[in-house]
């Protein structure tokens, strides 16, 4: 039994509070939050204040931070997303890995590191920083543009490579070549085992599992977390790194249709743990270590940024994309990833390299991430400035692949008796119809229709981006929750028509004021209809009965076509419509 009163760990509190403060500072200067978190560790750690001793809680959260980061990465890995450009992407990713490893190796070796150090550095610095690229591109709504897709595709393949690398690096002994071979062999075998298990689960078990709990928000979330822990714990027992387990757990879930909602539910937790994780990296480095190789780090950063850009540019260009695509796609990828720190930290704990190398890697990550954020932000301006340089790569053979992205389409928030009959009209007039609905039975019901369904809560920003709400021509909401309708109005484009539902005239007028183009008032309409019927009933009952008969027929038709769910509809109600 633990004695004493209930308290919150001081180290955790300090990390969070510092991270918040620095987060704002970095946000104002347009920097990614990850850099702020690494700085948090550096500020609190031996480099500056030296006020933190890592307790149990921080240690756990840092570990979970890495685990959940990879879980989330796995969750987002949907091969479908890049299927159209899969071949060029594979070519680019493979050659990029080879060439950049060679470049990083050459630079590090030239800077005077020994062979083992150079190898680790070369392995660690090859990755692009997924969180930064994805975040900045998503903010600019360029994630689904061609350069964005190429980058995401390359990053996905890099992630798979990373997981293998982590598994190999965490092997228990590297004493002689034969044990290394056996170890690596075992690791691949185990990974294949877990991979096979997760494949089978995704195929035969997970869909039913998640369908069973999709109606219960809490159970849905807990089952998702438990799935991650099952793999994390399993790979721990098998002496694999927890990252491998977490990644495969996510990967198996990624193929299940309910993932988009799960991703958004897990993300906040991951964000919280990640703060602790990246801070803990900063915490491990002392001032001497951080600046031990600062000149080398600066030189290497410059060399890698330029080198990586050129490598990517020629690789994309070689696949016959236009120079603009090549330019944008490679400019996004010039930074050293946060995973260089993950690999570095692992190599330190395995005794391959010393802390100063981790310091060197951290410095590179900070510098390149910081700079590349601005490069990505102003990528189009930079291209316009330098267009003449790239003009020579212009040729008639080169052209961009046409990508399927949502544009001038319809986004329907929630399907109900009001919106469902209009789906066909929307499809006919506009083409793509994307439904966002948090009732799991909806995605089953519309599986074989031309409408795309995203399972999840419209309140999640990422889901709204996935639905392409900013490019939609019509946004139609069947929710009467003002906050949902306000989101729909705010995030749709100038020219889009926004149609919302309201509960009362006051609410409807508010929605008009905020920018809705049409607000339907079902309760009011129904009230009027009932008044009409009642008047008829009192004056002429037979006429009423005839009128009602028509209505009942239509009701039956509608009920016959729209019903199928086994899920209790009350749970998904939009709320508040009953006070009539």
């Amino acid at each position: 039994m633990v004695e004493g009163t209930v308290t919150i760990a001081a180290d955790f509190a300090l990390i969070i509070l510092t991270a918040v403060a620095l987060g704002y500072l970095f946000r104002l200067s347009g920097q990614p939050t990850i850099v702020a978190y690494i700085f948090t560790g550096i500020v609190l750690g031996p480099v500056f204040l030296d006020v933190i001793t890592e307790g149990q809680l921080v240690e756990l959260m840092a570990e979970l931070g890495l685990g959940f980061l990879l879980f989330l990465l796995g969750l987002k890995l949907r091969i479908d997303d890049i299927r159209e450009i899969l071949r060029p992407v594979i070519n680019i990713a493979v050659w990029q890995t080879v060439l950049q490893t060679a470049l990083a190796f050459a630079v590090a070796y030239a800077l005077g590191f020994d062979l083992l150090q150079t190898t680790i550095i070369a392995l660690a610095t090859v990755f692009g920083a997924t969180p930064i690229i994805v975040k900045v591109l998503a903010d600019k709504d360029e994630l689904t543009s061609l350069p964005g897709k190429i980058d995401v595709g390359v990053l996905i393949l890099q992630d798979i490579y990373l997981v293998v690398l982590l598994a190999v690096l965490s092997a228990e002994s590297f004493d002689d070549p034969s044990t290394i071979a056996v170890n690596i062999g075992t690791i691949f075998l185990l990974m294949a085992g877990i991979g096979a298990f997760s494949y089978l689960a995704a195929r035969y078990f997970l869909p039913q599992l998640f369908r069973a709990v999709a109606g219960d928000r809490e159970a849905f979330f807990i089952v998702g977390i438990a799935w991650a822990f099952l793999f994390i714990h399993g790979s721990m027992e098998l002496n694999l790194s927890i990252e491998v387990g977490a990644f495969l757990a996510g990967l198996s879930l990624a193929q299940v249709q309910y993932t988009s909602e799960l991703t958004e539910r897990i993300r906040p937790l991951t964000d919280l743990f990640m703060v602790v994780f990246f801070s803990s990296i900063g915490l491990r480095i002392s001032a001497d270590d951080l600046f031990a190789f600062w000149q080398e780090a600066m030189i290497a950063s410059a060399a890698l940024m330029v080198g990586n850009f050129l490598i990517m540019f020629f690789l994309i260009d070689y696949e016959n994309f236009t120079p603009e695509t090549s330019f944008l796609g490679s400019l996004n990828m010039v930074q050293v990833s946060e995973f260089s720190l993950v690999v570095g930290a692992l190599a330190v704990s395995q005794g391959f390299i010393g802390e100063p190398i981790l310091g060197y890697l951290s410095l590179m990550a900070i510098v390149t991430m910081g700079l590349s954020t601005y490069l990505i932000k102003y990528n189009h301006q930079l291209y316009d400035l330098t267009e003449s340089v790239w003009a020579r790569f212009e040729s008639d053979d080169k052209q961009d692949v046409e990508l399927k992205t949502y544009a001038d389409h319809a986004v329907v928030i929630g399907v109900d008796d009001v919106t469902e009959p209009t789906l066909s009209v929307l499809h006919e007039k506009l083409g793509d119809v994307v439904i966002v609905d948090r009732n799991p039975s909806i995605s089953d019901r519309f599986a074989d229709t031309p409408y795309d369904v995203i399972y999840g809560d419209f309140k999640h920003g990422e889901l709204r981006k996935e639905a392409g709400i900013g490019r939609a021509a019509v946004v139609m909401s069947s929710s009467v929750q003002p906050e949902i309708n306000e989101l729909a109005i705010r995030e749709s484009s100038e020219g889009a028509i926004v149609i919302a539902e309201a509960d009362s005239v006051e609410q409807a007028l508010d929605l008009y004021d905020e920018g809705a183009h049409y607000v339907t008032l079902p309760t009011v309409l129904a009230g009027l209809k009932i008044r009409t019927y009642l008047t008829q009933y009192i004056r002429d009952r037979p006429a009423f009965l005839r009128a009602v008969e028509d209505d009942v027929d239509r009701l039956r038709q509608s009920a016959g076509t729209t019903r199928s769910s086994g899920v209790d509809p009350r749970r998904f109600d939009r709320g508040g419509e009953s006070d009539v």
């Binding site: 633990v2 004493g4 209930v6 308290t7 919150i8 955790f12 509190a13 969070i16 991270a19 918040v20 704002y24 946000r27 756990l60 570990e63 979970l64 709990v213 809490e218 159970a219 979330f221 807990i222 099952l230 714990h233 721990m236 897990i266 937790l269 964000d271 008796d417 009001v418 469902e420 209009t422 009209v425 007039k429 920003g461 149609i499 005239v505 006051e506 409807a508 007028l509 079902p522 009011v524 309409l525 129904a526 009230g527 209809k529 009932i530 008044r531 009642l534 009192i538 009965l545 239509r554 009701l555 039956r556 019903r563 509809p569 009350r570 109600d573 508040g576 009953s578 006070d579 009539v580």
Partner: protein, 566 residues
Amino acid sequence: MSELIEPLAIVFITAAVVLLIATRYPFPSVPLYILVGIGVSPLIAPGITLELAQLGIAFLVFVFGVHAEPSRFLTVTRDSEHVAAVQILVVGVTGFVIALLLGLDQLSAAYFATAAALSSSLVGRELAEGEIRLNLIHGRLTESIHFVQDLFAVGIILVLGATVYTLDGVALQLGYGVLMLMVAILIRIYLFDVFVTLSGDSDELIMLTGIGLLIGFLALAEVLELSIVVGAFAAGISITQEFEYNVALLSALESIENFFTAIFFVTLGSLVVAPSTEVLAMAVVLVFGIVFVKPIVTIWALVYQGYDTRSAALTSFSLDQISEFALILAISGLLAGQISQSLFDAILLAAAATMITSTLTYTYEDELYRLIERTGIFGATRERTRARSALPKEPLENHVIVIGYGKLGSSIVAVCRELDKPVVVVENDPDRFELAREYHDVCVFGDAMSDVVWEFLDAERADLVVSTPPQRSLSEYVLSVETDADVILRADDTATAVELIDAGATYVNVTDFLASEQFGETLSRLITAETSPETLRQENRRLLRERVSDSGIVGQLGPNVPELDR
């Protein structure tokens, strides 16, 4: 590798399995977590997850604080305030005396009494979710009584958390508590907006700000030697929900809360040691008090306030369990050495038990209500109904029975009166009932699902029954009433409507269905319109305004409505 990963894996995997099995049953998650904890306690070292469990407490209270808008403190209906106070006082004092009789010291008796008096809003609100959404009277009462109780709970924790029980000690404690709340309110008014503006639209940063505020207040509470509950509550108050990206913050907090509260409740369960007879005896006394005494007190208090017996009984069935705040208090008391392990065990066991029995009482609420009515302990319902209702001098004939006097109900009554049709209104919300009585001669106060009420409605001679709430159980009840009258009901979806028609309803009003017909036309017109969206917006807005002012009834008309006589 952290030694905590394995226990966490055990906690979550077991919890997931149990939740999966339980999806078939209506049990709330909290008692399941406690049972999981009791089950897995041999597998995890005692107290190992305690540090994480504290974050569970913190987030639990924090989220409650975030949702507690200060403006609500002022507008909580006086009734629920009184009922909550009476209930806490009566049950608390009884519990305190019984605890003393059981041989507990005064401090332990106070913990015991708190456990008996406070109800769990997590469980109660989850159970009554449907009623709260339908805005039925007992749903509304359940929600607001829980809210008031939770506020009391924070206060009680503030007092019981005092390290010294002198008048000065408690006063100091209260003073610091008030100080923290004031700081929180200042941040809410002046600082939080600044944070929101500075964060731009970064969901991540605004979430982290929320957590930062929480951690900051927890640290402050620690410095002032207050319970973390008070800190977490103050932190919740410091966050206003009224900003553009609030949905992102709220859903982020929900995830984090779900994660840590699962750990918290499982940890609580895992701290229970093998129960002795003493523990079981105390637990049984607690369960008895909560399952029998508390509902009786609640019903009595509500009936005294003027609610009908059925609404009162149904409300009480969402209040008959131990509060999660009592559990927080119990674990703080245990850790601080203020209560014994056996009292802690008893409270925990009773909590798990009552949360489950509460699910049962809720499921069989109507059967239980009939039982209570038959005993007649709250006075004869017939007499009460007669006394409060405005009944006709002679029996009604060829009349219309209107159930519910909301927007729809009142407009139906208006039509009947215009056409000189006799009408009787049934309403169980005291406020609406008063409104109905002001305008109409014949009104019956009571629940339309109570047999007694129908005795006053002369259903056998009625022409028509119109039921306005879309509540399925009510619709079925109305169909079971013996009458030749036509029946118009209301339903939420077309499938239910068809079933009700097959069961004998003349017509069923489905709001969304009626709206959809006309909606399709409007949509096609909007998409193909030559005019700019902005013009359309202005036009539709103007139409709505015109109709409203034409009709003179705000809340009745919308644009493009079908003509009344069509």
